[in-house]
Symmetry: C2
Subunit: 118 residues, 2 copies
DNA sequence: CGCTTCGTACGATAGCCATCGTAGTACGTC
DNA sequence: GACGTACTACGATGGCTATCGTACGAAGCG
């Protein structure tokens, strides 16, 4: 018992797979900033630190958006040194809602191209 | 000029296909009430009147939800006598975001079963 | 121990939104 | 015209949320 981990501000709570709600996922992705984060996470297979995203908002607001994504069950976060790593919960989302994440990402890509970003 | 249609409160404005935004669609579907409406619309192939939905809210609130769905481009509404008919814009959504609507409906079904509704 | 980097916590603010109730409009029928 | 049905419009309200700034904490590096 000597290694009981003291609760810390660095403990990150994630919903269990079975607690992920479709409505919460959709709400999380209905914000342009958060949809952008998820799109960037989806292209690389590796995790990214929060600061690797060039979001047009302050750091406070970024923190907020990452937390919304985490609490909805879309991403998983953990600390590595001073950095905070972010990764898509792809496997769990695919198990819960087969095909949904791919369809969402494809839809976002398609719209980005259509609106002249691509 | 005798047949110039006077603008009326019964004119319903719908976004054109190219003005439908993924974020707006996701936001529209992130409300449990509206997701339920869309699920019920999806099972039947016919249009339904507003009053055919047994929603646990007042009629005012229903009107609000149907309008959000229409303005997001998810449903198409038109009057038939005193009734207002509602239909999914399935073809247009499939053209814009192939596979998305099906994946969303499948995800909603799956979650309903998982949560013990089915 | 300082210093830097990275992210958090907290409070404030402004805007959006789900809900309701009441009053009203449009249509069909008698 | 009178009545009923179906839905709307408007205003209110309470809650949520995206944004910011400032101050702080945790880890690494010299």
């Amino acid at each position: 018992m000597s290694t009981a981990p003291a609760p810390s501000s660095r403990d990150l709570r994630h919903p269990a797979s079975e607690d992920i709600r479709l409505e919460a996922v959709l709400h999380a992705l209905s914000d342009p900033m958060r949809l952008q984060i998820v799109r960037e996470l989806a292209v690389g297979r590796d995790e990214l630190t929060c600061s690797q995203f060039a979001l047009p908002v302050t750091k406070s607001t970024s923190t907020h958006h990452f937390r919304v994504l985490r609490e909805a069950g879309v991403i998983r976060q953990c600390y590595r040194g001073t950095a905070k790593m972010n990764g898509l919960r792809r496997q769990e989302l695919d198990d819960l809602f087969p095909g949904l994440l791919d369809a969402l990402l494809a839809a976002a890509d398609r719209q980005a191209v259509r609106l002249g970003e691509g």
